[in-house]
């Protein structure tokens, strides 16, 4: 019989090294996918992981994808550290895009320098608003936040759908389900001419820095850490767990909303149905792969962003579906959970 036993002395070093192990295992088993498809694994990996970032355009695209992932994952880390499982970042992202984007459409002939900051503010508010709903349900009715936040994602997507086919549809858009483009004052400045990488990168770095300070130096970070490790000890310390639930939901919602607004006012420039290639869900993997550590999250967001780019190139050059990117993301998560489990428990056959 297979037995599982808690290790008494599980290693902290291995805890931080296990993402690397997981990536190595993903590459190893991923190569079988290419073999099955009759492709040379080495050539395929080159196309998947190296060629996408072999020029300045590719590196810019890497940051375009990594920015929303990092911002959302940093926000989610607050929830996850507190043992609150906010799975609905995709919905909060969508709400941020609706709120912030709505401001852009409302003042669509504005040239004011204040338009973009206002859109950013409303983006964050929209995401935070959407995240408070599961927080209220959890604290008032003890509803499982995993279910409510996930279900609210689909509600948010339908609301966006309603706006882009309904009131916000571009009259000059040939009936396509999309809004008018935002005015120039409502567009996120790019960092280099001709490349899409935008100032969202700065926001990601600032949020990473703030998060690092919060986690390591502040009372709030301490409360999160204690609550995540032991709810009983957190009560003993006199912390108000319900308040912590609210704060962490609001922070993660605001981050996701911000990321949503950056997407629509940055690379996209308007509102339409598919504003996010599941950034809100993929960011969950990013957060855990980065060990809920702010710096780790920045690194893991770059790695996962690469799977997005690689999947696009693979579709182009290898003629395989871009869903392979999701397969790799899934494999990374699978092996990460596996290594974590084996680090924490001993498995043996008796």
């Amino acid at each position: 019989m297979i037995k599982v036993q808690l290790r008494e002395d599980y290693s902290n070093l291995i805890f931080y090294l296990s993402p690397l192990v997981a990536v190595a295992l993903t590459l190893f088993f991923g190569s079988f996918i290419f073999l099955i498809l009759d492709l040379s694994p080495i050539e395929s990996f080159k196309i998947f992981f190296i060629s996408p970032i072999s020029n300045s355009y590719g590196i810019s695209e890497l940051f375009v994808k990594a920015t929303p992932l990092a911002i959302i994952a940093l926000g989610l880390s607050y929830c996850f550290k507190n043992n609150i499982y906010n799975i609905g970042a995709e919905g909060q992202l969508t709400m941020g895009a609706i709120f912030g984007g709505g401001i852009g459409l409302l003042f669509n002939d504005s040239t004011s320098v204040f338009l973009l900051p206002l859109m950013i503010l409303f983006g964050a508010i929209g995401g935070a608003f959407w995240a408070t709903i599961p927080a209220i349900l959890k604290t008032k009715f003890n509803t499982n936040e995993i279910l409510t936040s996930l279900m609210l994602t689909y509600v948010a997507l339908f609301i966006l759908d309603y706006f882009v086919v309904g009131p916000w549809k571009d009259p000059a858009g040939y009936g396509l389900p999309k809004s008018m483009p935002f005015p120039d004052a409502g567009r996120l400045p790019v960092l280099f001419d001709g490349l899409r990488v935008h100032i969202g990168v700065y926001f990601a770095i600032i949020i990473c820095f703030i998060t690092y300070i919060v986690y390591n130096k502040t009372l709030f970070g301490f409360k999160l850490k204690v609550s995540g490790l032991s709810s009983k000890a957190s009560k003993y310390a006199g912390f108000k767990y319900k308040n912590l639930i609210f704060y962490t939901f609001i922070i993660s919602g605001a981050c996701a909303g911000l990321a949503g607004l950056f997407e629509v006012s940055g690379p996209i420039g308007l509102l339409y149905r598919d504003i996010s290639p599941n950034y809100g869900f993929t960011a969950i993997i990013v957060a855990f792969l980065g060990r809920l550590n702010p710096i780790g999250i920045i690194l893991s967001s770059l790695l996962i962003a690469l799977t997005y780019l690689g999947a696009e190139d693979a579709q182009l050059f290898l003629k395989i579906p871009s869903a392979v990117g999701f397969v790799f993301q899934g494999l990374v998560l699978f092996f990460l959970l596996g290594t974590d489990f084996l680090n924490k428990y001993r498995v043996f056959i008796k």
Partner: protein, 500 residues
């Protein structure tokens, strides 16, 4: 008499500790053989090896002079070895008979089982109603169920792990009578304890263990608690003596007419509890576990807004509705029964565990930021003043031994300068050295004018340090008894609920 069990060079190590180091001794058939040692001496590991729960690294066990390979508890049972654990494994909502049949290996009908159980109960004087649900039983009765369950398997050897720790003095007497009768009828009992007097009263032989090794195996005939204690520890422990009658005057803490009306069948309702605590007084709340201690502590801490009626006053201020945080800010400190995961977080460093309980103090904060420098130096002070054996304040709390961690936690609370200190099971499960140190510290603290409430199952401990003791029984608190004129018979009666 021949030997029924022979341990030969048993060796078992865990990462960082040697639990059993070359353990060899023999147990005579039809005897009561005690295994004595401090917590962590290796007693539990050894009997778990005998019961097939733990596999030794090397060494052999002979049962009736035959080599026995005991891989699992079921092999042990087939060899006639049964064990009554310290923590019961009973289903609360099932009846006694249903619980008994669940423990049976053979197929047997419920009526047959009831007959068989009834015979055993009558013969040995277990007072059990086979049809009542476990949730309605006292702790002592639950233990009887566990023992009857073992006896149904017709064991040759019965291992009992600290069986008296949950019983009243009266119940202990009954249990000892039962054990002696069982041995007369052919059973061999292996009895684990760290209570010296019990071992002398009950057992024929005793094996003393220290740090995983056998110190000696001797007859208990010519021993007394002092000689046995010296052998167990390797040094003498001096008892603290509480200073006799003092006239306490200033009232610090009052509980008036405290009752609860919970509908949860698994909680005990408190019934009109009154308590007066004066400055510098140590007040003990005795009683068998499960008589409302948990609920009372819950209300004193107020972590979960537990509902109650009545009033609690701290220095004439009604604190009924004050949160844990507010109560701590008023200089009330707490040490809970559970160390790991309640009054300390095992995964966090000792420094962080200081701040866990001190986060209401402004000296450790700079606005919203934590002042780690101050905390670290405070942690060093606690470690030094309370003899905590650890290389640094960066060590994770979970790495400390029970006694060391408890010294650290109690030290932390004491150094926060409380006016009222509430301790739940302060010396439970820790080594005798730490225990003596903690008791001494508590007494000294009271002499400085700090009032202390101790909730404990350990009567000896309460009698040693307290000024007054009340007994908690089924949610009611007895009138306080002055320790000076207490006698153990009266206390025993109180613990059985016989007070007004």
């Amino acid at each position: 008499m021949r030997y029924i069990v022979e341990f030969k060079n048993i060796f078992k190590s865990y990462p960082g500790v040697i639990a059993n180091d070359d353990v060899s001794f023999n147990i005579k058939e039809q005897s009561i053989h005690a295994i004595l040692g401090e917590n962590g001496a290796g007693k539990s590991t050894l009997v778990k090896i005998l019961y097939g729960h733990v596999k030794p690294d090397s060494g052999e066990i002979l049962i009736n002079s035959n080599l026995a390979i005991i891989n699992s508890p079921s092999t042990a049972k087939n060899l006639g070895i049964n064990m009554v654990f310290q923590h019961f494994s009973l289903f609360e909502s099932l009846t006694v008979a249903e619980n008994l049949i669940l423990g049976m290996n053979e197929n047997i009908s419920l009526t047959k089982l009831k007959d068989k159980s009834k015979t055993i109960c009558d013969k040995y004087g277990f007072n059990l109603n086979l049809n009542s649900p476990i949730s309605s039983l006292s702790v002592g009765q639950r233990q009887s169920v566990e023992i009857v369950r073992s006896l149904l398997n017709n064991p040759k050897i019965l291992i009992m792990d600290e069986p008296t720790s949950v019983l009243t003095p009266d119940e202990i007497g009954k249990l000892f009578k039962i054990i002696k009768n069982l041995v007369k009828d052919g059973l061999t009992v292996i009895f684990i304890s760290h209570k010296l007097e019990e071992i002398i009263n009950l057992s024929d032989y005793v094996t003393i263990m220290r740090n995983g090794k056998v110190v000696s195996t001797i007859s208990t005939q010519n021993e007394n608690p002092e000689t046995l204690g010296y052998k167990m520890l390797g040094y003498k422990v001096s008892k603290v003596k509480q200073v006799s009658k003092i006239n306490f005057s200033q009232e610090i803490f009052n509980i008036k007419n405290l009752s609860t009306q919970s509908k949860d069948p698994f909680t005990i309702n408190l019934n009109k509890i009154d308590l007066n605590l004066k400055k510098g007084q140590i007040f003990g709340i005795a009683g068998v576990a499960g008589n409302g201690q948990k609920e009372l502590m819950e209300i004193l801490l107020n972590e979960n807004d537990y509902e109650f009626s009545g009033d609690i006053f701290f220095k004439d201020l009604n604190i009924n509705n004050l949160s844990t945080f507010q109560r701590k800010s008023l200089s009330i400190s707490y040490v809970t029964e559970e160390r790991l995961g309640h009054s300390a977080v095992p995964e966090m460093s000792l420094s962080e565990n200081i701040f866990l309980s001190m986060n209401h103090k402004s000296e450790f904060k700079k606005g919203d930021f934590i002042n780690f420098e101050k905390i670290n130096s405070f942690a060093s002070d606690v470690i030094k003043s309370f003899n905590v054996d650890t290389p640094s304040y960066n060590v994770k709390a979970g790495k400390l031994s029970g006694g060391n961690l408890q010294k650290f936690i109690i030290g932390r609370e004491i150094m926060s300068n409380p006016e009222l200190l509430i301790l739940s099971q302060p010396t439970w499960g820790i080594d005798a050295g730490s225990e003596a140190f903690i008791k001494k510290t508590i007494v000294e603290l009271s002499q400085k004018g700090v009032s202390i409430i101790i909730i404990s199952h350990d009567l000896d401990e309460l009698l040693e340090v307290c000024h007054e003791i009340s007994v908690l029984y089924e949610g009611s608190l007895s009138n306080p008894l002055n320790v000076e004129d207490i006698n153990i018979t009266k206390l025993g009666k109180y613990m059985g609920g016989l007070f007004d």
